[in-house]
């Protein structure tokens, strides 16, 4: 059975017009449809990658799964049970088991907490163990992420480098012994030279501790390295999903093809044909019901703007694209 299932998960943000427009002109609110009818299944011990450009709803999806943002539609099921109405002990258990690693290691660590206090925060807040055991586990966790506790435990975040801070972020999530980790672009704020180290740490931790994960990035080469399966999003909709390497080597959806074309390929002989993307990426404000990539898609016709294809993500081996025009595209 899957550990996490998202069923038609949606999040709309209301944008209210100014006072005069609202009251005098009776202009209705508009909605940013940041995430729309997203289906997703994550299996035990699986790393699911989410790729997509800035603003496509990756972080919104992550914060909903982490229980930090309420969805406006759809359902999140953890081990088969909906988590949307969780309260009290059930919510605490969910919070413990599903942990998030944040994007910005400069903003996500409390500047007035010492490193040991930051890592101990989750276990202390949820009273998972007694004080001495929490300390022991915190020390062990710091050592495990490559920050010897006798050197780092008493420091403040501002005394650490970006890479060290992100290690603290990872330690503070993993000390809770999560079954599911949501990593929202954990490398994007870091210097390129240290990314590989942090990525290796994440992979090592996953292979030792066997947690499931959602790993978000807009860098497809990282996702090809870390993820088992890959979902590509565009303006809040899922465009394509499948085994990671297959999606990258053999993209089906016109958007994925464009995205992969945009990734620099080191070997010039493997350069792919790049379909041009027309138009500009924008915010999904009151979008039409159909495929949101349609306005920029070289293959789109009128029907694309009217209906959207939802993916069926239950079968982890299936490689699917949310496009009605696949036959036409592949022939042409």
């Amino acid at each position: 059975m899957a550990i996490l299932e998202l069923e038609r998960l949606s999040r709309h943000f209301e944008v209210r017009p100014g006072f005069v427009d609202r009251v005098v002109r009776r202009k209705p609110s508009s909605y940013i449809k940041a995430v729309e009818a997203l289906n997703l299944t994550v299996g035990h011990n699986e790393i699911l990658g989410i790729a997509g450009e800035s603003g496509c709803g990756k972080s919104t999806t992550c914060t909903m799964v982490a229980g930090l943002l309420a969805p406006t539609g759809g359902d999140i099921r953890y081990k088969g049970d909906s988590v949307l109405d969780l309260k009290g002990a059930g919510l605490m258990e969910y919070r413990r088991r599903v942990q998030m690693i944040f994007q910005d290691p400069y903003e996500s660590l409390n500047p007035r907490f010492r490193i040991s206090e930051i890592v101990a925060e989750g276990p202390t807040a949820l009273s998972l163990w007694d004080g001495d055991e929490i300390d022991e586990r915190v020390n062990a966790m710091l050592n495990a992420v490559g920050l010897p506790h006798h050197k780092y435990a008493d420091r403040y975040p501002h005394e650490l480098s970006g890479g060290e801070r992100q290690r603290v972020g990872i330690a503070s999530a993993l000390v809770m012994e999560p079954e599911m980790v949501i990593a929202d672009e954990p490398l994007s704020m870091l210097d390129v030279s240290i990314r590989a180290g942090i990525l290796d740490l994440f992979k090592d931790m996953q292979s030792q501790r066997h947690f499931s994960a959602i790993y978000v990035s807009h860098d497809l080469s990282i996702l090809g390295n870390v993820a088992d399966r890959l979902m590509v999003m565009y303006l809040g909709q899922a465009m394509e999903i499948g085994p990671a390497l297959e999606v990258i080597r053999n993209p089906k959806h016109p958007y994925t093809r464009a995205l992969i074309g945009a990734v620099p390929v080191p070997d010039p002989r493997t350069r792919r044909a790049i379909p041009n993307i027309r138009g500009d990426i924008s915010k999904p404000i009151d979008p039409p019901p159909g495929c949101r990539f349609a306005p920029r898609c070289p293959h789109a016709d009128a029907s694309c703007g009217e209906r959207f294809m939802e993916l069926d993500t239950a079968d982890p081996h299936l490689h699917q694209a949310a496009c009605h025009k696949l036959d036409v595209i592949n022939d042409g």
């Binding site: 944040f102 409390n110 500047p111 007035r112 010492r114 040991s116 807040a125």
Partner: protein
């Protein structure tokens, strides 16, 4: 064996105290202010032991003459009043009253102000609306008529002086703390605390409060300074506590005696004390203003 956890907590507490001492010590003015406050506090604590006479005891000099309206001398270091009371003894006991009123109303007002600011800022919405309208109403309340009515109703009592001061000064700290809370609660480390399982209570008091602490200490010092000035004004106008003597009360007695033009010493000591203590509090609070943003701190 002492628990290792407890040892770590004690170590962090010690380091925090060292850090506060370092902040105060970093700057000569705040160091001066700190020691002035310490000295006044000691005087207030041991006032009955320090004062040579009762504040309302008629004193006689070594030759047995009634010592009325004497300028400062070896026998009466701060002089005497027209009724022959020793001003040094009065000043020492007045220090106790003034500090008691200043500290109590300063601390009560910062505790009320901080909690209202934190809760309104953190929860927002209806609760914020209600609490902020409440402070708006208090902004429209003038201090003097308010305390006059209070005293007319209940008499000249220390508790009512404190109550009146608290009701007037908590509002500013509430507003400032609320604004700071609103900006801090949107930072990502708050989302992280929530993701790690911290409750609202824990987020407010363990995550937000330490981040508004420098501002809080700044306003605590302001509030105490303000209470002292306010108490002095109220006492000078005759609305202080009738049973005890405060610095403002000493000035009121001087005014009543009609000797203002003659007895400069009677005027000097309480005024200097008020100015010295209030500026000391401001100096110390300045030191905290500089650490309000930890990222500006270099070590």
């Amino acid at each position: 064996m002492v628990s290792s956890h407890l040892k770590r907590r004690l170590k962090y507490l010690r380091l925090a105290l060292v850090e506060h001492y370092r902040i105060i010590n970093a700057n000569p003015l705040s160091r001066f202010g700190f020691w002035v406050i310490v000295v006044f506090t000691l005087v207030a604590l041991f006032a009955p032991l320090i004062a040579p006479y009762d504040p309302w005891e008629m004193v006689y000099d070594s030759e047995g003459n009634f010592a009325a309206l004497q300028p400062p001398s070896w026998e009466f270091p701060m002089g005497t009043t027209h009724l022959g009371y020793d001003l040094f003894s009065q000043l020492v006991l007045a220090t106790r009253t003034t500090l008691l009123i200043g500290a109590t109303s300063g601390l009560i007002s910062i505790i009320i102000g901080a909690n209202i600011g934190l809760i309104a800022g953190y929860y927002g919405g209806k609760l914020d609306e209600v609490l902020m309208r409440l402070t708006d109403i208090l902004y429209g309340m003038p201090f003097l008529p308010f305390i006059i009515v209070l005293i007319a109703l209940f008499g000249r009592k220390l508790e009512f002086v404190i109550l009146a001061i608290v009701l007037i000064i908590w509002r500013t700290s509430a507003r400032v703390i609320r604004a700071q809370t609103i900006s801090i609660k949107q930072r990502q480390f708050i989302a992280m605390a929530k993701a790690r399982g911290a409750s609202d209570f824990r987020i407010i008091y363990k995550h937000i409060l330490p981040n508004v602490l420098p501002l809080l200490l700044l306003y605590a010092a302001f509030n105490i300074a303000w209470s002292i000035i306010t108490e002095a004004s109220a006492s000078f106008l005759g609305f202080g506590d009738g049973e005890t003597i405060s610095w403002g009360g000493m000035l009121y007695e001087l005014w009543l005696s009609g000797k203002t033009r003659v007895a400069w010493w009677w005027f000097a000591s309480p005024s200097v004390c008020i100015i010295l203590l209030v500026t000391s509090l401001v100096f110390v609070s300045r030191a905290y203003e500089e650490v309000a943003n930890p990222r500006l701190r270099k070590r």
